[in-house]
Symmetry: C2
């Protein structure tokens, strides 16, 4: 199968930033084969009001009117049940993102205690808004970045049991344990899988800041479980790239020597996934993972974010040859971002 035509993909976890980085990144959504982007709220300051979310939405839509941007709020004390109801009423805000405090980029205002938000979750359940969870526990004498996700899974299960009608997405799941936990929950719990976690294990990111992200890529057995879940045809698993652009200077050569967490995959989102599915001999499952399951879970048509016609007429063609070689960087000068697998050849994507 050297050429495949699919409806436009949907990416259910993107970081589009703001300012000049936003201008660099937004045009890459469609380069990566997606016509829908589910936008994370971890700007500085974080998106915690309906007004901020709508303003951000306007900016994004102005930069690329051909993409449907679904907005999120940042779970924090400012988010009350009234805010949830107002957000749902806009028809543009689809979910609330929960960050555990301090665990990733711009998460200093994140959650310490989920119980404090039970009234918010109840309002989300009523309004049918989605809860997006960065599922990692803080490090301690027994928890490290390696088992932070697995350690979090009981919290996921407890939230699901308490709010069975709340749709929850465990974002960027990275472990076999998380895959099993999501499978074990009811239909209202799903998970996104990134493009890069279909490729990486700890050995790849250990010496390569451009492959370092949170949650970190883990063992070969975990990667195998993610590949299996993504290609399984189970509608609980769909694409959310967690594409997280940082300028090269924040990844390598910072003043304190530290590297920002995040892998930038936006311009080649479907290309990475198609190439990985091809290696698995599972290209027949690609459409479900990148186009259908996410939209179904989020009810994008039912809620009026897209029409069925939009989706089918806006099509992408994937071709193994000539394929596409990942460029060395996107953007210019200080703001340039190094994409994942720079220099490597992938399946190509073009718009029909």
């Amino acid at each position: 199968m050297a050429s495949i035509t699919l409806p436009a993909a949907a990416d259910f976890h993107v970081h589009l930033r703001d300012g000049s980085m936003m201008e660099t990144v937004v045009p890459t959504v469609r380069q990566g084969g997606a016509s829908l982007a589910y936008v994370m709220p971890n700007l500085v300051p974080a998106i915690t009001t309906v007004e901020q979310a709508l303003e951000y939405h306007s900016k994004l839509q102005a930069l690329d009117p051909s993409v449907a941007f679904l907005m999120t709020l940042y779970l924090s004390p400012e988010i009350t049940p009234d805010v949830i109801r107002a957000a749902a009423a806009t028809g543009k805000i689809a979910g609330v993102k929960s960050y555990p405090k301090g665990l990733t980029t711009n998460s200093e205002g994140g959650v310490v205690d989920y119980a404090a938000f039970y009234p918010v979750f109840a309002a989300m359940e009523e309004c049918d808004m989605v809860l997006n969870i960065h599922g990692e526990s803080p490090s301690s004498e027994t928890t490290t970045i390696l088992n932070a996700e697995e350690t979090f899974l009981p919290t996921l299960k407890a939230l699901h049991e308490r709010f069975p009608n709340l749709r929850i997405v465990l974002e960027h799941c990275t472990t076999a344990a998380a895959v099993e936990a999501v499978k074990a929950c009811g239909a209202n719990v799903a998970a996104t899988i990134t493009a890069h976690h279909l490729y990486l294990t700890i050995d790849q990111w250990a010496d390569n800041p451009h492959c370092f992200c949170k949650p970190v890529a883990k063992l070969p057995s975990d990667r195998a479980a993610l590949l299996e879940a993504a290609t399984s045809g189970n509608p609980k698993f769909f694409l959310g790239t967690d594409s997280a652009p940082h300028p090269r200077s924040a990844k390598v050569g910072t003043a304190n020597g530290k590297t920002a967490a995040g892998v930038f995959t936006q311009p080649y989102a479907v290309q990475y996934v198609a190439s990985a599915f091809d290696r698995m001999g599972k290209l027949d499952k690609l459409r479900a993972f990148v186009c259908d399951f996410g939209r179904d879970f989020y009810k994008t048509v039912e809620k009026g974010w897209e029409t069925a016609e939009d989706i089918t007429k806006d099509a992408i063609v994937l071709e193994k040859e000539p394929g596409q070689v990942v460029v060395a960087e996107i953007g210019q000068g200080e703001g340039a971002v190094v994409p994942f697998m720079a220099g490597e050849k992938l399946w190509g994507v073009r718009w029909l």
Copy 2:
């Protein structure tokens, strides 16, 4: 205990490099409180002949005549039983370092199959030379940098069983499993523990190239096992810093974005260890770990590398206050190296 006087320390695993980096690093051996340095052979080209080792020894001795440099050869096909006998006869070459192929800096010529070297090991046993092992298995579908050391331990045990009179050092051990394996072997098997592995876990190096080394620092439970072993008074465990200087440009901001493996600790070797032992309330075990156990294992006096008088008259004073703050970098310009824990305050070391 705010001040301690000890004999000069001995560092049984150092990388002193060559060229200008050697000139930068050699003077830092005594800054770190050591009068003896056991020198790794992974230059480019590697030290595989007696002549190379002696020439390297002369250069080092010229740079600092007050340090005793013990030399090693790089285990490779060039090393034959005759080379071992010639090396032992020099009185300057104390051991042979075995690198698993491709696993760390300049290890491309390393070992694939230990059985090929059994005649060499037999000659080393006869000549009473030490085998220094970088104990990690290559990555595979079941082995990653996390369990590479543990996966190697059966090889260590097998070598010890086959050559019970061969003195073997498991270098820079990083796991509770390795500590237990070394304890379970006879008295001819010991292990070095680095300064930095008394501090680091995976969470610290994940986003900080200056803390990335091979073997990687692992879990809090592993670090606890290393601290326990180092402060236990068990003579099988002694200091070998594996101080591994790389220019800043090789750690951050390389062309391909990758970072070289190695943590630079030489100028503060004893300072780091004293500070860690202090936090453990085990300063009474410091002398054994940094001065005595390594010398005993290597028989430095018996073999004439030092006199008992050398050791006792060349003394260091450790003081908690005013202590020493780790400088931002050592060396100049392109060749500058960032030391471990730059900017942090440690116990100070001065020569009496």
